[in-house]
Amino acid sequence: MSAPGSREGPGIGWNPRPGESESPLIQLTRTRFREFLREPEAVFWTFVFPLLLASGLGLAFRSRPNDVAKVGVLSTAPAASLVRDALAGDSSLTVVMLDDTSATTALRIGTVALVVVALDSQRVEYRLDRARTEARTARFLVDDALQRARGRANPVAVTEALVSERGSRYIDFVLPGLLAMNLMGSGMWGIGFSIVDARRKKLLKRFVATPMRRYHYLASFLLMRLGLMVIEVSVISAFGRFAFGVPMRGSVVAFAVACLLGALVFGSLGLLVASRARTIEAASGLMNLIMLPMWVASGVFFSAGNFPDAVQPFIQALPLTAVVDSVRGIMIQGLGWAALAPEFAIIAAWLVLSFGIALRFFRWR
């Protein structure tokens, strides 16, 4: 290499200085963060969307301890007022008086769970759809209230001790699932799209024309994912904790390791998907092909146990299943390292496999 200043000429008076610039890995990683943070849509899908989804699901499936069943009483029936008075004393029931047509409509659209027709002072008829859970519940409540009002005594004395355990609600089930799903989505989209885009724009080829180390380039994506993972996981789990009281029963270290492995495995799968594709369309088709089955089968929204036994081995081997099970196991069941070992082994295997294949077949030009 030439000595500093040896090729100075008119207009160029610079002195090449070795080693004054930042490390290429740091520069590449900073570029990754810039590209991400300056893309408002990406920020939305990564950070805001999972919170909206969790809020929506949390509200829709919230447990209602003081649940009130709404029942109708047919106002044209002979003994309607008798029944109304009998039911009015029960705090778990709300009673509305309905005429014939509005009773039919209210039953059909579900504004009341059941309609009571008081045929006379000795006989009542319940109109309900037995397929509906709240209708069956309402039937028991109404019947109990009516029989007690007419003097039925309980042969067995019963007292209730109410428990509402954190960790057994739907939000407790679904939040770890959403967390894992988010790691998958942002890992695969975030890495896959950036790389295919760089290839399409001949930027990859331009990098290859410099002395840049290729593994620095790929590593910068994984480092970005790790950095974003810390933020994503903190935001989602803090939200679960403070908005819904979702517990963290296991060790925080195990939780961090599970999230780290999750971010790496989906980052590597993103690299793999992007390793050959030349167009965004090809890459997104491939990504949907990989992610869609896991969204459905891996137990994000409902237990993977619902699927037949014959396909269980395949479902358990999916990377998202392993990440969902380990994150959920740590948060809700407080699983320890020994119990997590099989899941971690599955994730590690996927990680090594996909990163190795991606590195081997990566198309740089």
């Binding site: 030439s2 000429g9 610039s21 930042e22």
Partner: protein, 311 residues
């Protein structure tokens, strides 16, 4: 390290894509410190040739020696010493000019400070602007800036001014001239003959994957032997009279292209009256007459019978 006399040597280079022969038995020698141009129409094989020299494509056969080294054995060392600008790179739109240059600077062991590069390509005012907001000319200067990040001894520029407006093109020419004056070797491709004439010490005219002429622009033009080129357009329909200007005084060669005759003449003051006389004699009417000093375009036309750019 002593620079070898030849910065780049290419021997019997061949590259095919399926049945398309992109480069065919191509030879080149680029001397250290010169600005060397590959001039040819679209599809001539310029990009393929230059990318093989840059170690970005594999040739089917032939030898490439860059700064005295081979790609197969010295890739890393070579990458530190080369500056490469590709024909169609799009840099990340969300990243600023300064950040982009700093990124490229970090890949090289030694090189100028980012500030100095920005100053050289005159993007000081756009330092903090995102790449997506730059004009075509500014993007192209950014691309050259990134190629300069390692203070290269040998700089490859593939069609640096294609698609630029005249003012941006002149700015880029100034930049290339300053780089040439600083003593580094430059290999550039272009299909603009003005660009090759103005910037290059020597030019290889490339057509269909082969070098069909190689010399200084002046020597190439002088090889035509013509002092002036006269373009004559005669009334259409009967224009295609073959041999219309054969034997006309001062006309060295004549070529018919649509309604347009292109005549290479030795002395315009003698040839033009003779040409006018000849047109009148043939009972044709003249619709246009132009003269210009010969250019590389005329060299290309006389060698291939085609124009560099299809108009």
């Amino acid at each position: 390290m002593q620079s070898p006399a030849l910065a780049l040597e290419v021997r019997a280079l061949r590259k095919t894509f399926g049945t398309v022969v992109a480069v065919d038995a191509l030879d080149l020698q680029v001397r250290s410190g010169e600005c060397f141009g590959l001039l040819g129409p679209n599809g001539a094989g310029k990009t393929t040739t230059i990318e093989i020299c840059e170690g970005l494509q594999e040739p089917d056969s032939g030898d490439v020696i860059v700064l005295g080294r081979h790609w197969a054995s010295d890739e890393r060392a070579l990458r530190e010493r080369l500056g490469v600008q590709l024909q169609e790179t799009q840099f990340s739109e969300k990243v600023t000019v300064e950040e982009t240059i700093a990124l490229f600077r970090s890949f090289f062991r030694s090189g100028p400070a980012v500030e100095e590069i920005i100053g050289l390509v005159q993007l000081e005012e756009k330092r903090g602007a995102r790449v997506g907001t730059l004009s075509g000319g500014q993007k192209q200067r950014l691309s050259v800036a990134c190629a300069l990040a390692g203070d290269p001894e040998l700089l490859f520029l593939d069609e640096p001014t294609t698609g630029l407006d005249p003012q941006s093109r002149r700015q880029l020419w100034d930049l290339v001239e300053r780089l040439r004056a600083s003593g580094r070797t430059i290999v550039l491709t272009t299909h603009y003959m003005e660009e090759a004439e103005r910037l290059c010490d020597r030019v290889a005219i490339v057509d269909q994957g082969r070098v069909i002429a190689i010399d200084t622009p002046r020597a190439l033009i002088r090889s035509l032997g013509a002092e002036q080129v006269v373009e004559v357009e005669v009334s259409e329909g009967i224009a295609a009279t073959p041999g219309l200007f054969d034997g006309t005084q001062g006309v060295l060669s004549a070529r018919l292209d649509g309604p347009l005759w292109t005549l290479q003449v030795s002395a315009a003051h003698e040839a033009v009256p003779a040409v006018l006389h000849r047109v009148e004699e043939a009972g044709l009417s003249l619709t246009e007459l132009r003269t210009h000093t010969p250019t590389l375009e005329d060299v290309f036309v006389s060698l291939t019978g085609r124009h560099l750019r299809e108009q």
